[in-house]
Symmetry: D2
Subunit: 424 residues, 4 copies
């Protein structure tokens, strides 16, 4: 793992500047009636889960260009996740994808403990065929026209729950690629009926203290229709399944121009928001690093979450879900966790008393200015101080780079050949 001394040495060289910046920010915030210490404590309480698969280099249907020292399996991935958490103190849990991460649960628990991590929601995979699989998912899984195929998909989800129970997970995220590529290919209504029937069987196998997350996505891999295409269908799904079913919002899964923070607000009101898959996007489900394309949108989502954080029963499960095609995945996950945390802290800075006053008076200009004032506050000193106090790195990427972790991994982990993508 990352040497604690290295982190301390790095931090020592940055400490004085940080103190100066922290004091200057504290003075400025005090003028606005904000106690920087309270905010730093709040920032330190933030965390977001990391997806095991995010530690490998991602790709597109055109190609995958692997990086150096790619993780060979879940044990390597847990090592990588441990590095991220050691440097950020913000990612204490890993989310597994089955069957990619299938392994003896005892070994998983042991490894996780070793690297200081716990397990988040389980993810099932019925959008790919596995070598030993009886029925193909080419034409669907939980909503397939064939009952045996649906049953196979249900059983796979039940197995994910079973594995999850053995490693301390308490949630199952279900995202399926089922849909169609041609108008007419499927009955939009009956396909959904089949989906609901299968999901009911999964739900029936859910332990009492577990939650089932329904995740919508407008398109891809299906290019004409998708069974759970939007939050409306996801809401219906969660409503019909029961109280343990909730909706997961992935920031990249919407139609162009859609106001996502509005969806957040509606799902919270309906008692059905379960959490997020964070990433950023410009065109489709681009799975880019959080906060790199439209940081203000990320802030607006967090603004809703903070405004409504006292809603009774709200219990959100946050995860990063990105595809790191051109960066070191560990670095991207580090930076993304920090960007999500940044938006949370900025949203926590909003002067909500003033905001409500402006809203009541329909003073649109000052209400909007109030949000922007919080957004443009550079909260880096708060995030850095929070990390320092928790023993993580003031500058995690710099520390990671000086650690030589990736070069070390490249020595023990064999190089992987470039992949051809799906179009060939």
């Amino acid at each position: 793992m990352i040497d604690k001394h290295l982190i301390e040495a790095q931090n020592a060289s940055r400490h004085a500047d940080l103190e100066a910046d922290y004091d200057a920010l504290g003075t400025r915030l005090a003028r606005r009636g904000v106690d920087i210490e309270a905010l730093t404590t709040r920032a330190a309480g933030f965390d977001v889960a990391v997806p095991s698969w995010g530690t490998g280099t991602g790709g597109t249907r055109f190609a995958r260009f692997p990086g150096k020292g790619e993780p060979r399996g879940i044990m390597d991935k847990l090592d990588d996740c441990g590095v991220i958490h050691a440097l950020t103190a913000a990612t204490p849990r890993v989310s597994l994808h089955i069957p990619w991460d299938k392994e003896d649960p005892a070994l998983l628990r042991e490894k996780a403990e070793e690297v200081g991590l716990g397990f988040d929601a389980m993810n099932s995979n019925t959008f790919q065929d596995q070598p030993d699989q009886a029925h193909s998912y080419k034409f669907g899984s939980l909503s397939h026209t064939d009952a045996a195929t649906r049953r196979q998909a249900v059983e796979h989800n039940l197995e994910c729950i079973e594995i999850g129970q053995q490693i301390g997970s308490t949630a199952l995220s279900v995202w399926i690629g089922d849909g169609s590529n041609f108008p007419g290919q499927t009955s939009l209504s009956r396909q959904f009926d089949r989906y609901m029937e299968a999901m009911g069987q999964v739900y029936a196998g859910l332990p009492d203290d577990w939650r089932l997350f329904s995740e919508h996505k407008i398109y891809e891999p299906a290019f004409y229709s998708t069974v759970v295409q939007d939050w409306g269908t996801s809401l219906i799904t969660a409503q019909e399944l029961g109280p343990k079913a909730q909706c997961l919002v992935d920031l990249g899964h919407h139609a162009p121009n859609v106001n996502i923070e509005m969806i957040v607000s509606r799902l919270i009101r309906a008692g059905k928001l379960g959490g997020f898959h964070f990433n950023d996007s410009k065109y489709g489900d681009d799975d880019l690093d959080s906060g790199t394309i439209d940081p203000f949108r990320l802030f607006l989502v967090w603004n809703e979450l903070v405004e409504l954080e006292d809603m009774p029963g709200l219990n959100l499960s946050h995860m990063i879900d990105q595809s790191h095609n051109v960066t070191d995945p560990i670095e991207s996950l580090i930076v993304s966790a920090i960007e999500i945390q940044r938006a949370f802290v900025q949203a926590s800075l909003v002067d909500r008393v003033a905001l409500e006053g402006y809203r009541t008076e329909n003073d649109a200009l000052m209400a909007a200015a109030t949000l922007r004032a919080a957004f443009r506050t550079d909260v880096d000193p708060i995030l850095q101080m929070g990390r320092l106090r928790k023993g993580a790195a003031i500058d995690p990427v710099a520390a990671y780079r000086s650690s030589g972790w990736r070069a070390g991994a490249a020595k023990t982990r064999p190089a992987v050949a470039a992949g051809g993508g799906g179009i060939v």
Copy 2:
């Protein structure tokens, strides 16, 4: 009105060709196992309501360029609607917009009877201020922060119901422009709470045999957020209000790329589809003539409606809702009614037995081909024969043009000055 003799003379000159085309199509359909007579009867049973305001020339925020012989008020509008129905036999009802169409109900009934029409859903208007209005809707209506403004909007809706009861309407359509132009301007959650409270008061005033239609729209006139921005929120609205509340789908009110026929399918399944506002669009809520931009999309919507038409309790209310900026509105409404009817008939032609077979076998290519075979069948002879048999025009636009109706109207109705739009 349009002289019956004119229609008959026009039809006489086209009769022989129509018979030949009808026979040829009948032969071809018989080969596919379709009885053309049954289809013609079905086509003849189709109707769609016309919006009173659609008879005037529409405009944009940049300008409105009036046409000749614009209707001066609701009485002129009813005359125009009478012309449309006389020529198409497909638009037996008119939908009123209050206060634009406010008039003595007895006179309305009398005039409607004179021109052979009934009344469809009532439309309230809280997106504009009227000269005598106590509270402005600049910052909202049913969801305004001010209780008195909300009350005013509720009372306006109740008045619409009252007027509607006196003229035989049994539905109220509620579409509001409430929302915000700036992130932060309103509380997305509390604005919706206020909306739901006000809608509850409207719903409470709904007669037992009435329905309340909730209509969503992604944006415009609000450009950052809209209270009822999508079908998910519209569904929640209808669910909370009660069994008499249903959702209205306007084809132009969605985000880019959205699969509208999927929304249709989901709302029917949820028992909450109330009907449609038909139009076509390429960019935003363009309110173009139905079937002129993407006729296959219109067909796919009808394909869902026909596939699910036997769902218990389904009772759809269809209306045209367009803005006719560069055409004679009467002509656009005639052609649009026919295009909607065309899609209905094409969808009725789908070989559903074959389609289900292909779907079961996941024969995507043939399933899609089955839909397209129905879509590309030129059903004009069926539509024309249906009109002929009901005493309407084989070619309604040609008959309208030879009638000289517009020139006549231009003589009795004074010219209107060009308008400046909203941007000045």
Copy 3:
């Protein structure tokens, strides 16, 4: 106008805090190798033109809700623009729209001098009909099928040049709404030929020291096709017309998801970027206040402008072009000018040496982080200090509100009735 003593008094109360913030920021920037004084000087050199029509309340096709003390004509509008510049020291020029702002040039010059302003690009208007107009623009203007209508539109543009010459303007912006609402309505190719022929006649009348700006827009008010629908067509237009013709980019005139900064880069390379119309948008041409929806996008546009600012021959003309529907237009223009200036200063902060290094090494993560580090720097102290030193207000909105300007205007300028929009 705004009392100088009021501004001074307001500034006095904020001076000490500003000095402290400025020093803290200066220290922090020095650590990054940035001289705050050089940046403040650069910020002070920034300016952007204000549109005369932006001082009135805007509207949509649904309604226009006027504010208090609306300007009655160009003289009032110049007063309002004078207020904006007095408070921000960033908007020294006004852009006129003819015929809206038609007035004796001598009076215009006199008034402008009185309020401390000059004149920016002239804007012609052939998207509306004027009361005394011989030919209607309902079906087009510069591209109309009728030669006399095109000639009328050309002459109007030539008149705009003539007026502009008398008041010191040196540019003409041409944006037309010509296009079509139906596939087939116009010949896409011949309509453009007619447009180019007419534009050639306008260009021929351009004085040697003038520029002609071609502005593209994807849609609205035409909803199927628009003659100059994108930057490709605008580029062809400018290429064919000649060296005095350049392209204007309005941030809200593109298709969803389009990368606008890429267009900026391409037009600069082609030697054809003439300037900007700044605003922000979420859906269509929403004309919202600059920097309120996606401030990072505004920053990325400025990042291109700063990166390429030394390109030979680059001479950009910047203007705000917004529709202020729910705010005091003076306040929106103040805030927008500052947000545009903010993005310029943030872009000026980018460590370009480091950035180029990362780009050369394909260190995508650090290259992106370098941009974000500049974006999240809170440059408010620099903007405020720049204003203070130029005699403008540290907090212009606060100063404006305490001045009572709007209430004063409401006394002398009569109230305006709410408008109905274009849809009635």
Copy 4:
């Protein structure tokens, strides 16, 4: 190959019905002044190239689900393409992708002759790494920051030309995935400069009778910026390179809502339209079968092509470019070729004299109706008769299915394992 007797037997069973349908259509068209025989001759003259890679099952970044009897290499692919042409008589040329299709040119020519095909444009591939490649394209190819990588990409393109010359091709299509995933990752301007320099080197190697096609695409595989992101940049590219460079339009490579037929019109006017990559799409570059999502859009594109077909110098190169994920690729290519041909014939049916009359009078309604009348004419009998007369199949899919081709291929071609896609 497909047995000629099988085709004849199939045709015999459909001949009588076809004659009847053809006669009925002929009568109807004659009434509109259209000679069906002239149209059938015109239809028979239509052809479109087939992409070699389209004969394999496509996939997404999530998975690829292979079909039965997948082609093992270019020889199998040519066999499959031969089947398509034998059944449709509409696809006489194949487009190769190098290095996927690299093979001894003599063998390629021999095989092509055997199956009755010629070769269309060559396609280079610098969006994937090949096993033996010196420099990786992970961070770009023709626009890479590293000169050696750019040189390698240039040489690959030159090799494609060389191979093409040996097999009778006369065009090179260049599409690259170069771009960036993060704002800041690349210099938008210098990346394009490097691209242009490299393209200049490719262009310099182009034989006199060859053309170079530049193909734009808004995004994917790069998700923030793409070097040739739109037709504007593609136009600049072709303008700078010289007269042998032209632009290729892929129907799925545009931003949402974009009016593609307008782009077609503009490129033809600029003398720079080289041809098309046909497919259909609903969301992004979905690569669905032509005419299955929005057949009217396909018709509108053809309407421009037909309207402008007499433009001097116009010489278009048409190809299908699709990803067949859930169908038998041979069937999809058959149907797609026919759908493209259908749109061409429908567009040829437009009454252009009447259309121009309506346009001149600004009779938008009748102009639009004139286009729609052509679009809704069921030209199947014309397409079928054209095939019959050329010895191809009246119903190619039915003939293909009865031929047992796929089952035969599955016997000789070994099964392929399902692929994992790029995301793992």
